[in-house]
Amino acid sequence: MSDTSNFQPRIAAFLCNWCSYGAADLAGVSRLQYPPLVQTIRIPCTGRMSPKFILQAFRKGVDGVWVSG
């Protein structure tokens, strides 16, 4: 991977409804900008997070996974 500057990775974000998902909403209200590479999947609680989801996401070809509670 010599040239990574134009590379647009795809990242799956598993966000807890009560914590990080709320922070993501608030980031919107505050218009805080970040790269449009993150696709959010809302989960009720990080307790719901299963390693299966992470593996499946990679199997589907995402470049990164972010789990945030």
Binding site: T4, P9, A23, V38, G61, D63
Partner: protein, 56 residues
């Protein structure tokens, strides 16, 4: 978890964990940006994906 990933040939740095409370918008922005940069630096994921990706 990162060990499993390494075992199947995925760089551990492709997986990120964080804890952000619902009031920490700025931390969310920072973390999102960091995660994107970290993954971008690794380049496209090479393993566990179908060949079609390499062709494309």
């Amino acid at each position: 978890m990162k060990n499993i990933l390494e075992y199947v040939g995925i760089e551990p740095d492709r997986l990120h964990f964080s804890w952000i409370s619902s009031a920490e918008a700025e931390k969310f922005q920072k973390t999102a940006t960091q995660v994107c940069e970290a993954v971008r630096a690794l380049g496209p994921a090479q393993h566990m994906i179908k060949d079609i990706r390499k062709v494309a």
